[in-house]
């Protein structure tokens, strides 16, 4: 089974398993594009732009007039340098790219853990995204019940902004998490569900796999500009933060997580939810099977 065939069957299987409204797989660009682009550089904006270009450009994912939901991790009332939230410049650059290609409404939303407004303010995402013309939404978010049909999550409520968007871009930050060891792309969907999320921790690896199977973004951009290596997901001390100046972009959020865990000195097999993702063919965990383009700016 070659890679493309593998991906195609994976996508098809998932389409059957979850509601069609929740799945928006992007076809892989033919020819030049990579599956996963990793860019290292001091300029966050340039790194994001270059990573997306390496996948075939933003126009490959977003079409004119489409409503785009950008889902960062803005969960905590923490300043950007502490690495607990997505770097505001990563979000702002994606908003700018979407706007340049002629997207309709670009929405930035997250269901935070700390007070929504404070989290969006402290993380810098509110100001940066609004400056580029995004609609930033964090208060009075609404959710609708959806059939997840997962192994653990059968039904749960999902952010209406997610359900109604034409395209979704997942923009997680890589960081330590006490229970799941690492939170990045797949676990970022905790910020898109309603209800009592604390209950989703009971069997977190199954839940994260279920979420990733149901919530499939068109594009994932991973913020690894600075990585919180311990005391996550909140952090609070620069001692735990390592500046890495890296950004990755990929079609497959599972592959993104498989790459991200290497930054924290782990293998994908160290993470329960990535093992589940591999078993259930939610995405590709073996980076050797993918075309990974590494760039230095």
């Amino acid at each position: 089974m070659d890679r493309r065939h593998f991906l195609r069957t994976g996508v098809a299987g998932l389409s059957a398993a979850a509601l069609s409204s929740m799945i928006r797989p992007a076809a892989r660009a033919e020819g030049i594009a990579a599956d996963l682009a990793v860019v290292r550089g001091k300029s966050v904006s340039a790194a994001v732009t270059r990573a997306v270009e390496a996948l075939g450009g933003i126009g490959h994912f977003i079409k004119q007039g489409e409503t785009v939901l950008i889902k960062p991790n803005a969960a905590w009332d923490r300043t950007p340098e502490l690495g607990a939230t997505t770097h505001p410049e990563v979000v702002a650059t994606l908003v700018r790219l979407c706007k340049q290609i002629g997207a309709g409404k670009v929405i930035v939303a997250d269901r935070t853990c700390h007070d929504a407004k404070k989290s969006f303010q402290s993380s810098g995402i509110l100001e940066a995204a609004e400056k580029e013309g995004a609609v930033v939404m964090f208060e009075d978010l609404t959710y609708s019940a959806r059939t997840f049909g997962g192994e653990g999550m059968k039904e749960w409520s999902l952010l209406d902004l997610y359900i109604n968007a034409d395209k979704v871009i997942n923009v997680p930050v890589v960081k330590h998490h006490g229970l799941s060891k690492m939170t990045c792309a797949m676990k970022n969907w905790f910020g898109a569900v309603g209800g009592k999320r604390a209950l989703l921790h009971a069997d977190i690896h199954t839940t994260v796999a279920d979420l990733a199977a149901a919530c499939r973004p068109s594009l994932t951009v991973v913020d690894a500009t600075r990585v919180l290596l311990d005391n996550g997901p909140t952090g609070g001390s620069l001692d735990d933060v390592k500046v890495m100046d890296m950004v990755a972009a990929g079609y497959d959020q599972v592959a993104c997580d498989a790459w991200a865990c290497t930054l924290m000195d782990m293998k994908w097999t160290d993470l329960g939810y990535l093992k589940k993702a591999a078993e259930r063919k939610i995405g590709e965990t073996d980076l050797a099977k993918l075309k990974v383009e590494k760039l230095e700016l």
């Binding site: 009332d77 853990c113 700390h114 007070d115 402290s122 208060e139 009075d140 998490h177 006490g178 229970l179 009592k196 604390a198 209950l199 921790h201 009971a202 069997d203 977190i204 311990d230 005391n231 997901p233 909140t234 952090g235 609070g236 001390s237 001692d239 735990d240």
Partner: protein, 495 residues
């Protein structure tokens, strides 16, 4: 007879009074809504003076001192012209009279005007024992706490996840009742209960600004009593301690028999407090004193460190806290996260209406110092945000979390859970994860040096009765309560 016919220029003064009342009411609300509650509370000489006496130091707020000085010289103008609670009652009394259209009411001067002096006496004497509950009934404190409660209950200017809690609801009801009652019994609160009014009334005895009655032109029509919301004047007598100079009688007098003047006795003047007997006053004072002494004893000597009395960061040691705290609710009003709520009896009776952190409704945020800024009394001292940094080596602690492993999901039920650890704001985290014996799971364990008692873990625990609970142990302000800290681990002690 036609109203407003008399007056001799007093009508303009009365209009000015109404304008000034509305201005001060608007000003009071502005202070409450613009994060400056402490200045509203500062207007009360009762709180400033009594609390200063109770605390044994000379903090008398300047604005309160000005109010007292004006009263000594010119009478109880504060109640009629400035006090926002008086104004609210005046408005509702005015509305009540019109809506009920009861027309001319035959009234007499209330026999119960003396009650408030008993309230005052019961408030004064406990000061000797270092406790004052003036704030329970001080109108400016009642307004601050009441607005805070009603705001939340009505969903104005509050976070969407605001939750009511017992004593705060009582505060809201108190303000509502007080104002509503004035529509039926004008200025019921001012006349019968308000200890601030009583104190100012007593001070007003020294004033020489009086309403004089010309006995020759007075026809004893009692129109003055009919228009007086306070009910302090009739054809026979006028109580200088009760009059709040609303000027209604001067405007309404059909024969212009009444004038406002300085000077000697004006025929109908009663220059004493409207008390039934000195004996009842003394009895009340003694009762208040005994109760005060008992309260302090129960609170400070017997109770020790109540586990559920988590004071805001920056709170001074309990003994001093009880003396200083105005029970005004300014900290509750200004807390952006609504975690500060009034105490019922967790700290003994003397602590009723004082603030505590209630982690069933919210939790204390590290990057916040509002309560220290908001407190007008010094019960909560201003504190630096440096002692609130997640990775500070000398944190300001309000309590310590403990885990009930007989309930905690990973420990008791073999279910994965991490919420307390996730939300723990310190770095390194005070709530660590350690392997649960006989299970693949990790469960929480509290590091007693890292934990500052912010209550995030207790608030976010998914169980209805949290498995992680904060008690007052290790609070910075009480070194004797540092049960798991040793020596230098104590960090900063209460200021």
């Amino acid at each position: 007879m036609e109203r407003g016919k008399g007056g001799g220029g007093y009508a303009a003064w009365r209009s000015a009074r109404i304008g000034i009342q509305l201005l001060f009411l608007a000003g009071a609300l502005a202070l409450l809504y613009l994060g400056q509650s402490r200045f509203l509370v500062g207007l009360s000489p009762l709180l400033g003076l009594l609390q200063a006496l109770a605390a044994g130091f000379g903090l008398v707020l300047v604005s309160g001192a000005v109010v007292l000085a004006v009263t000594l010289v010119a009478g109880r103008w504060f109640c009629g012209w400035v006090c926002p609670v008086g104004t609210l009652q005046q408005c509702f009394g005015w509305l009540g009279e019109r809506v009920a259209s009861r027309g001319e009411r035959a009234r007499e001067i209330s026999k119960r005007l003396g009650w408030k002096y008993l309230v005052l006496a019961g408030t004064l004497v406990p000061v000797v024992f270092g406790v004052s509950w003036a704030g329970w009934l001080d109108p400016l404190a009642v307004l601050t706490r009441g607005v805070e409660a009603l705001d939340g209950l009505l969903g104005i200017d509050r976070r969407e996840d605001w939750v009511p809690s017992g004593m705060l609801v009582a505060d809201g009801l108190l303000l509502l009742l007080l104002v509503a009652a004035s529509a039926r019994w004008t200025r019921l609160w001012c006349r019968h209960i308000c200890p601030l009014g009583a104190g100012l009334g007593a001070a007003a005895l020294a004033s020489r600004v009086r309403i004089l009655r010309d006995p020759d032109s007075c026809t004893r029509c009692n129109e003055c009593l009919r228009v007086c919301q306070h009910g302090c004047i009739d054809g026979k007598q006028w109580f200088s301690a009760e009059c709040n100079y609303c000027l209604n009688c001067l405007v309404a007098c059909p024969t212009r028999a009444l004038t406002l003047a300085t000077g000697a006795h004006g025929g109908a003047l009663v220059d004493r407090l409207p008390m039934r007997s000195r004996r009842s006053f003394l009895a009340s004072a003694l009762a208040g004193g005994a109760l005060g002494a008992a309260m302090v004893r129960r609170t400070v000597e017997v109770r020790g460190f109540p586990p559920d009395l988590i004071r805001p960061p920056g709170a001074v040691p309990e003994e001093h806290f009880l003396r200083r705290c105005h029970r005004c609710g300014a900290c509750m009003r200004e807390c952006p996260f609504d975690v500060i709520r009034p105490v019922l009896a967790e700290g003994g009776l003397a602590a009723t209406f004082t603030p505590k952190l209630d982690f069933s409704v919210s939790y204390c945020r590290l990057n916040c110092d509002r309560c220290g800024q908001a407190c007008p009394s010094g019960a909560i001292q201003p504190f630096s945000l440096d002692v609130r940094k997640p990775d500070t080596k000398a944190p300001l602690r309000v309590g310590l979390a403990y885990i009930d492993v007989s309930r905690c999901l990973p420990w008791a039920y073999d279910k994965g859970c991490v919420t307390c650890n996730e939300f723990c704001p310190t770095s390194p985290k005070a709530v660590k994860l350690v392997p649960v014996p006989g299970s693949d799971l990790n469960g929480p364990r509290v590091d007693p040096v890292q934990c500052i008692g912010c209550g995030a873990c207790e608030f976010v625990c998914p169980l209805p009765l949290p498995a992680i609970i904060v008690t007052s142990a290790n609070e910075s302000r009480h070194p004797d309560n540092h049960v798991t800290l040793r020596g230098s681990e104590g960090g900063v002690y209460g200021p």
